[in-house]
Amino acid sequence: MIELLSLPFMQRALLAALLTGLAAPAVGTYLVQRRLSLMGDGIGHVAVTGVALGLLTHTSPLWAATVVAVLGAVLIEVIRERGHTNGDVALALLFYGGLAGGVFLTGLAGQSANELQQYLFGSITTLSSTDVWVTLALAAVVVLVCVGLSPQLFAVAHDDEFARVAGLNVRAYNVLVAVLAAVSVTVAMRTVGLLLVSALMVVPVAAAQQLTRSFRTTLLGAMAVGTLASVGGLLISAFASFEARVAPGPTIVLLALAGFAVTWPLGAALRARRRMRAPFPELGQERHEMSDEHPHVHGPECGHVAVPHGDHVDYVHDGHRHAAHGKHYDEH
């Protein structure tokens, strides 16, 4: 089985998976922050037309898809900036136009559906070395910009009006994020496919943010989850292919979702625990009220939730807050 990893096509695939797993969640974090999680999906649909144009004109589908995806992303950004609530209808028109146009043009080009399928659902094991170099370059640009400009991109995505008054060129940064999203869509196109691209941008962020409290850790965590999912998913599908036909793209996405399935309950439990143990506010003069007969002795080991309250600790159980006072307990 290890000799599988020494095959050149497998090494190329691993490199592409690694880069895609780093780049897609990096952009995805800013999209999720702006509550535009589905923008990657929309760009993916538009890129289908680009792939079809490439097939029709016998040029590189990768470059044609990049150009069309960038144009589509900028158009989406313009509609979003100008539009009110009905902006989403305009986006829907663009998305379905892109998908239908792509399938239509592929038919005109006389290409089989199989050719388009490679781009819709990915075909990471058929990458040429040129493909890998292009992927490497594009992914490097995406990661460097997303990390290097993170203070600016964070501020713009967090509160665009504040950023404008702070003198930042908000429109330029928004268009930059849109272009980066389009580039990572085409980077991920051969790995997970255009229809699943958005998953690799959004699911790692969703998984990471269950456990994080800051933007920086979310960004880095999402990149880690994305890399683990894409490399892991590729390896699983490669080794499983001895037994059955396992497509790498969907395996990668399902693995990322499994990551979310693990972090979600964990994060929920941690948040609940933190809420339980948040200190009670001090209100100054407390009424002195002794609790009824209390045979139990509270302490650090007693298992009841201990919550700081001013200079002492309240033990919480059965709707009571008990604080030790001399030999008895007070109700707080």
Binding site: N86, G148, F162, S214
Partner: protein
């Protein structure tokens, strides 16, 4: 208002239209350095729109605006202006810590691709301590109460160490202890000589800080002078019944909604 000090904000004959409908008209407003001005009025009276005009978020339809004695079109020294927009919270789609949100206010003084300098870090820490959130620095903003999130937004404006603050309804929906914490923070700013333009429906705990009240009524200045108490502003002369002669609800919906997808949003 005749002030002998430098005039920081100078608006003459200002009008602001939203989707072609003039909302704010004929406003003359001069704010002197170090003044604490309360811009008051009922919902829909145009006070928020006026501040959005003064910060450049909405273009003036007519009138001339000077900030720090520079015509607005030539004004680029945004580090001197701190803005606290009207928000219900400081959270966004991804977790962010109090420190990160406050640090984003320091961008006015940071160059691209440079790490935080020691002065930057000191300014961020100081801003957090002025609003009294030192213990929450590393917490996620979404875990804070509404009043604490409002204080985070003020600290963000503070981090850039500006001379002029615009605050849009910072006390809306904030409980009394948090209002008092806000008042303390703004008192600190005032004592340092900052100029403050505060938009408020009601002053509450901030009332003792105010040097001068300007009351807006249906897009015009109805009063400009000594501080007024909340009940005076909402006296029938200033009353909401008069200012609200159209029934459109909400603060920003000054123009009718549009129904087709590619129509421009009202600006």
């Amino acid at each position: 208002m005749a002030t002998t000090k430098e005039t920081v904000v100078d608006l003459r004959g200002g009008a602001i239209a939203i989707a072609g409908r003039p909302v704010v008209r004929g406003v003359d407003l001069a704010v002197g350095s170090g003044e604490f001005l309360a811009l008051m009025g009922a919902n829909g009276s145009g006070k928020s729109t006026l501040v959005r005009g003064l910060t450049g978020l909405r273009p003036l339809t007519t009138g001339s605006l000077r900030l720090f004695d520079t015509p607005f079109d030539h004004f680029h020294d945004w580090r001197r202006v701190g803005f606290v927009p009207q928000r219900t919270g400081a959270a966004s789609g991804v977790p962010s810590s109090v420190w990160e949100v406050v640090a984003s206010g320091r961008l006015t003084r940071r160059r691209l691709l440079r790490a935080l300098s020691r002065a930057d870090q000191a300014a961020i820490d100081e801003a957090i301590s002025v609003v009294g959130l030192e213990r929450e620095t590393r917490q996620g903003v979404s875990q804070l109460s509404g009043g604490q999130q409002q204080r985070v937004l003020i600290a963000r404006a503070l981090a850039g160490q500006p001379d002029l603050f615009f605050l849009d309804e910072p006390t809306a929906g904030v409980d009394l202890p948090n209002q008092q914490a806000l008042a303390e923070a703004l008192g600190t700013l005032k004592s340092r000589g900052s100029t403050i333009v505060l938009v408020a429906h009601e002053l509450g705990a901030l009332a003792p800080l105010v040097d001068r009240s300007v009351v807006m009524r249906d897009g015009r200045v109805a009063y400009d002078g000594d501080p007024l108490a909340d009940h005076e502003v909402h006296h029938p002369d200033f009353g909401e019944a008069h200012t609200h002669h159209h029934t459109e609800p909400g603060r920003r919906d000054h123009s009718p909604h549009v129904g087709s997808p590619l129509d421009r949003r009202a600006r």
